[in-house]
C-alpha cells in the first residue's frame, strides 16, 4: 500500500529535476544557421514545452494513468514502443550476465566459506577483489583490445539484425554476446561471491549447524539444507534489488559494445533532453524496484517460514 504514494513521490521528483535541468531536445537546431529560431520556438510550443512545470506534470500524470506513455520528442515515436523494442536484447544480454554472476557466486562463495582461509578461499578472495575493483568500462575496453583487435576472435559491435539461420544464427548471437555478458557477469559475480561467502560464514557457526553435524548428517546435506538455505536470505535481498537492473540495462557496457538496450536508450534520451523517454524509463525502474522488493519479501517467507505473515 505504501507503494502508490512512493511512486507518486518519485514521479514528482523526477519530473521536477528534469524540468529544472538545462537544455532542450532541439539544441542542435540552435546552432544550425539554416534553421530560423522561430522554427525551434514553434517546435517547443507544439510539444507543450513552454507551459509551466505543474501543468506539464499533471498532463503527463493523467496520460500515464490512462496508459498513455507519451511520445519521444526526438523520434516522435510512442515511448512504450521504444522500450518494448529494446526489452528483448536487454533481457538476453543483462539477464544472462546476471545468471552467469549467480552461477559463479553461489558455488564459489559457498565453497570458499566452508573452507575459510584455505588456499582456495584466498585465491577466490583475491580474484573477487580484482573483479569488483575493475570498472566495467575498463574491462570492456581491455576485452575489446584483446579479443577483437589483437586476436580478432569476437566482434565488438553488437548486431541485432543477424541474417543467418539455424545454428549459425545462434552461434553469431552467442559470439557477439560473450564479451558484454562476461564483462557484466564477472563484475557482478565478484561482488556477489564476497557477499555469499560472508553470509554462509555467518550461518556455518550457528548452533543448529553444529547440531546437524552432531546428528551425523553427511557434510553435503548439512551445507545445502541447513547452511545455504539460511544464508540465502540476505543474498535474496541483494539479488532481488539488482533485478530491476536486468530490465534497466547497463549504461556503460551497452555504450561500449553498442548493445541497443534500455540503458543506451536512457543515456541517449538524457543527452538529448528527451523528457518523456527519461520519465518513462526511470519510472519503469522505480516500479520494478518496488515490485522486486515485494517479490523478495515473498521469497523470504518461503525460505524461512518464520518471517511470513500468518
Amino acid at each position: 500500500m505504501i507503494a502508490i504514494p512512493s511512486l507518486l513521490g518519485i514521479s514528482v521528483i523526477l519530473f521536477t529535476v528534469l524540468a529544472l535541468a538545462p537544455g532542450d531536445p532541439f539544441e542542435e537546431l540552435a546552432t544550425n544557421p539554416a534553421i530560423p529560431p522561430e522554427v525551434r520556438l514553434q517546435l517547443r510550443a507544439s510539444l507543450g514545452m513552454d507551459d509551466p512545470i505543474y501543468i506539464r506534470y499533471f498532463r503527463w500524470l493523467f496520460a500515464m494513468l490512462q496508459g498513455e506513455w507519451g511520445f519521444s520528442f526526438v523520434s516522435r515515436i510512442n515511448v512504450d514502443q521504444l522500450i518494448l523494442q529494446r526489452l528483448p536484447t536487454t533481457l538476453i544480454v543483462i539477464g544472462s550476465s546476471q545468471i552467469l554472476a549467480l552461477a559463479i557466486a553461489l558455488p564459489v562463495g559457498v565453497l570458499a566459506a566452508t573452507r575459510p582461509y584455505s588456499i582456495f578461499d584466498q585465491v577466490v578472495n583475491t580474484l573477487a577483489f580484482v573483479g569488483f575493483s575493475l570498472p566495467t568500462f575498463f574491462t570492456g575496453l581491455l576485452f575489446i583490445m584483446f579479443f577483437s583487435i589483437w586476436l580478432g576472435w569476437l566482434p565488438f559491435v553488437y548486431n541485432t539484425n543477424i541474417t543467418a539461420t539455424g545454428w549459425q544464427w545462434w552461434w553469431e548471437h552467442i559470439r557477439q554476446s560473450i564479451m558484454p555478458v562476461l564483462v557484466l557477469g564477472l563484475f557482478q559475480g565478484a561482488a556477489w561471491t564476497r557477499f555469499v561467502r560472508s553470509a554462509v560464514l555467518d550461518v556455518i557457526r550457528l548452533d543448529h549447524v553444529t547440531t546437524a553435524r552432531a546428528k551425523g548428517l553427511p557434510e553435503s546435506r548439512v551445507t545445502i539444507r541447513h547452511v545455504v538455505r539460511n544464508a540465502l536470505i540476505p543474498v535474496v535481498t541483494l539479488v532481488a534489488l539488482q533485478m530491476p537492473i536486468v530490465f534497466g540495462g547497463a549504461i556503460v557496457t551497452e555504450q561500449i559494445f553498442r548493445v541497443p538496450g534500455i540503458g543506451s536508450l536512457l543515456i541517449t534520451a538524457i543527452l538529448a533532453n528527451d523528457t518523456p523517454v527519461i520519465m518513462a524509463v526511470t519510472f519503469v525502474f522505480a516500479c520494478l524496484v518496488i515490485f522486486f522488493n515485494l517479490l523478495a519479501d515473498i521469497i523470504y517467507g518461503w525460505l524461512d517460514p518464520r518471517i511470513s505473515y500468518r
Partner: protein
C-alpha cells in the same frame, strides 16, 4: 579582385578562353564558396550550375547490384526517418538513404540533378532573369518504392507539408517564404517574393527531400506524428526500406526500379548507430568490420596510427565550419535592466582596438593545427572559409607576442605589480569560456600561456556542452547569452550560400533578452557598413557584385578583431580502402549513396 576583373573573367568563360572549372578554382582561391561561384556563372548566363564531368567521381560498375552489403557506422544513432522532422544530421542522413531531393550539392559546389531532369539555368529557361522564380523539370519514369509514379503533385505536397506550422517540421524555414506552383505533371515553379539570388534552397539537399503525397496526405497537422511512413519510409532512393530500430540500426535493400542506370551497386545497406567515435574509427580502420564511419572527431594522432594498419583511409572533406573566438562587444559584468552583456554597454577593455588587435596576435593557430587538430583543423585567418584552396589576399594570421606587447605599450596599457596590464582602472583580465571538449581546453591553455606573456590574464571556464549549446533562457552559461569576456566554439555552415552564415553579424540579429537570446549575432557587434552591404547582398541579383559584397563582409568582421578565426573544421570520416564513397561538404554524407561502390 574588383568587380571589373570578375566581369572580365566571366566574359572569358563565355567566350570559351577560360574553362568553367578554371573560373571556379580562381573564385575559390579568392574566398568565394564554390557553390556561389557556379551560381554566379549560372545567373550571369555562362553555363549552368549543373555539375560537369569531374564534379563527382566516375561510376564504373556496369550492372545493378552484386556488391554485397554496405555497412555504415554512425556513433550517433538515428531516431526517426522523416526528413522533415529530422533534428540534426544523423536523422537527415538516415532519411536520405530512402528519400531524394530534386538536386544535391557536389563538393565542388555544383548542383547534381537527382529527381530533377536538369538544373535550371537562364539558357534552359529554368531561371527567370529577375530572380523571382525558378522552374524545375522533373525526371520522368521515377517510381516510389511502392510502385506509384513520382509527379509534380508530390513536390507541391512536400512544400505544403513542410511549411504547415501544424506539422512542426524542422525544414519549414526553407519553404514558408516561397510559393510553389504546379506547371504540368512533371514541372513545378518556385516563386519568390523578392528577387532571390540563392534560389537553390527549397527542394535541394537535406531540407529538400520529396515525400510521397499518397502516403502523407492523410497525416497532416495533429496526426502528422502518426504517419506509419515516419518509421517505414517509402521514397524514391536507391535502397528500399527493410527494417528500422530507432537508436540502433537501419536496414535497406537494393531498389530494383531505381531511376539511375546500373545503380545502386550494393545489395543491402546497414546503418548502425551508437557508441563512440574512437571505437567507430577502430571498427573501420583496424578490424574492417564496417565499410564507413562518419564524423570521426578523434585526435588526428590516433587516426594516423590506425590508418597504419592499411585497411582503410581517412577522408577529409573541407567545408565552411569554423572554430573561432569572440571578443564581447558589450560589458558582461554590468547589468542593465537585469540583463548582462546588454547592447547599450561597451566592453571596458575590448572597446580599445589595440587590445583586440593584441588578442588576435596572441593565438598560435599553427600550433593548434600542428599539436591539437591535425588534419581536422587547418589554421585560417578568415571567417567565411570555403573549399580547400582558400587563400585570402586581404587577411593573414600571425602569432607575435612581441608585437602584441608593443601595441599594448603604445596604447597606454601598463603592467601592474602582478604583471597584468591596466589602464584607467581597467585590468586586462578576461573570462574565457567554451564547452567541455578536450581540444578546446587545450586551445584555452595555449591561448592563456601566450596572453600571459603579453600581460593579459585569461580565466578559463568550461561549460558542459549540453548546457553551453542549449537555448535555455533560464541558464546564464549558454553561448547565446555570452556572459563572459570571450568565448570559443565552432559555427557551422550547412548551406552552400553564405547569406545565412554571414547574418551572424548584422545589427538586427543581436542576441538579447528582447528576442529571448535567439538572435544570431552573439558577439553583439554592430556596424552600419556591414548592415548596408548585407541588405544589398540579400537582393543583389548581379552575382559578381554579390560575391564581392560577401568578401567585403568577411574582411569587415574579421578586421574588427571582435572575432578571431582559429581553425577550419572539415568533416573527417573513415572508409575501407576499396570503398568509393561520394562525399560532399555542402550536402549529407548519404547525398549520393546511389554512386557508392567497391573497387576490385
Amino acid at each position: 579582385m574588383r568587380e571589373d576583373d570578375l566581369r572580365q573573367m566571366i566574359g572569358r568563360v563565355k567566350r570559351g578562353s577560360l574553362s568553367r572549372r578554371g573560373f571556379v578554382t580562381r573564385m575559390v582561391a579568392l574566398g568565394m564558396t564554390a557553390p556561389m561561384a557556379t551560381q554566379l556563372l549560372a545567373i550571369a548566363g555562362a553555363g549552368s550550375a549543373q555539375a560537369q564531368a569531374g564534379s563527382i567521381p566516375a561510376y564504373t560498375p556496369t550492372r545493378r547490384g552484386g556488391g554485397g552489403a554496405l555497412r555504415i557506422l554512425y556513433w550517433q544513432a538515428s531516431t526517426l526517418l522523416n526528413p522533415h522532422f529530422a533534428v540534426g544530421t544523423t536523422n537527415q542522413e538516415s532519411s536520405r538513404v530512402f528519400y531524394e531531393p530534386l538536386a544535391g550539392w557536389a563538393t565542388d559546389g555544383t548542383l547534381v540533378p537527382i529527381l530533377a531532369a536538369e538544373i535550371p539555368s537562364i539558357e534552359n529557361g529554368g531561371l527567370r532573369e529577375d530572380g523571382r522564380a525558378v522552374t524545375w523539370k522533373l525526371k520522368r519514369g521515377v517510381k516510389w518504392h511502392d510502385g506509384q509514379d513520382f509527379t509534380a503533385d508530390d513536390v507541391v505536397f512536400t512544400w505544403e507539408y513542410a511549411r504547415n506550422p501544424a506539422n512542426a517540421t524542422t525544414t519549414s524555414g526553407s519553404y514558408r517564404d516561397v510559393n510553389v506552383v504546379k506547371v504540368d505533371s512533371h514541372t513545378v515553379r518556385v516563386e519568390f517574393e523578392r528577387p532571390t539570388p540563392f534560389w537553390a534552397d527549397a527542394f535541394v539537399a537535406s531540407a529538400g527531400c520529396i515525400i510521397p503525397q499518397h502516403l502523407f496526405s492523410g497525416f497532416v497537422g495533429a496526426t502528422a506524428r502518426d504517419a506509419p511512413t515516419n518509421l517505414r519510409p517509402v521514397g524514391t532512393g536507391p535502397y528500399r526500406f527493410v527494417s528500422f530500430a530507432p537508436g540502433d540500426n537501419l536496414i535497406g535493400a537494393l531498389n530494383p526500379t531505381y531511376h539511375g542506370e546500373n545503380r545502386p551497386y550494393f545489395d543491402t545497406i546497414e546503418v548502425k548507430g551508437g557508441g563512440d567515435a574512437v571505437s567507430a574509427a577502430r571498427a573501420v580502420l583496424q578490424t574492417g568490420d564496417f565499410d564507413y564511419a562518419w564524423n570521426l572527431q578523434v585526435e588526428d594522432e590516433l587516426l594516423v596510427r590506425l590508418e597504419a594498419a592499411n585497411r582503410g583511409r581517412v577522408n577529409i572533406v573541407d567545408g565552411g565550419n569554423i572554430e573561432f573566438v569572440q571578443l564581447n562587444v558589450t560589458d558582461p559584468n554590468r547589468e542593465v535592466d537585469g540583463e548582462r552583456s546588454h547592447i547599450s554597454t561597451q566592453h571596458p577593455a575590448f572597446r580599445d582596438p589595440a587590445v583586440r588587435q593584441a588578442m588576435a596576435l596572441l593565438i598560435d593557430r599553427n600550433a593548434l593545427q600542428q599539436f591539437i587538430y591535425g588534419r581536422g583543423g587547418p589554421a585560417t585567418a578568415n571567417f567565411l572559409n570555403n573549399p580547400p584552396r582558400f587563400n585570402s589576399t586581404n587577411l593573414r594570421h600571425e602569432f607575435n607576442v612581441q608585437r602584441a606587447n608593443e601595441i599594448l605599450d603604445a596604447a597606454g596599457w601598463v603592467r601592474g605589480r602582478d604583471g597584468v596590464r591596466a589602464k584607467d582602472g581597467v585590468r586586462l583580465s578576461f573570462v574565457y569560456q567554451t564547452s567541455v571538449n578536450a581540444p578546446r581546453q587545450r586551445t584555452q591553455a595555449i591561448y592563456r600561456q601566450a596572453a600571459q606573456r603579453a600581460g593579459i590574464n585569461l580565466d578559463l571556464k568550461s561549460v558542459t556542452a549540453s548546457v553551453f549549446f542549449s537555448a535555455d533562457v533560464a541558464n546564464p552559461d549558454t553561448f547565446p547569452k555570452f556572459y563572459a569576456d570571450m568565448q570559443m566554439y565552432t559555427t557551422t555552415m550547412p548551406q552552400a550560400d553564405p547569406q545565412r552564415f554571414m547574418n551572424q553579424y548584422v545589427s538586427w540579429e543581436v542576441s538579447q533578452r528582447a528576442n529571448n537570446w535567439q538572435g544570431r549575432n552573439i558577439v553583439r557587434w554592430r556596424n552600419e557598413e556591414y548592415d548596408n552591404i548585407f541588405r544589398q547582398a540579400e537582393n543583389e541579383l548581379d552575382p559578381v557584385k554579390r560575391a564581392e559584397m560577401f568578401i567585403r563582409l568577411n574582411d569587415l568582421i574579421v578586421g574588427s578583431n571582435h572575432i578571431i578565426p582559429l581553425v577550419k573544421r572539415p568533416l573527417v570520416s573513415a572508409s575501407l580502402r576499396n570503398l568509393r564513397p561520394v562525399l560532399s561538404a555542402w550536402d549529407n554524407t548519404h547525398w549520393l549513396l546511389s554512386d557508392w561502390f567497391r573497387e576490385g
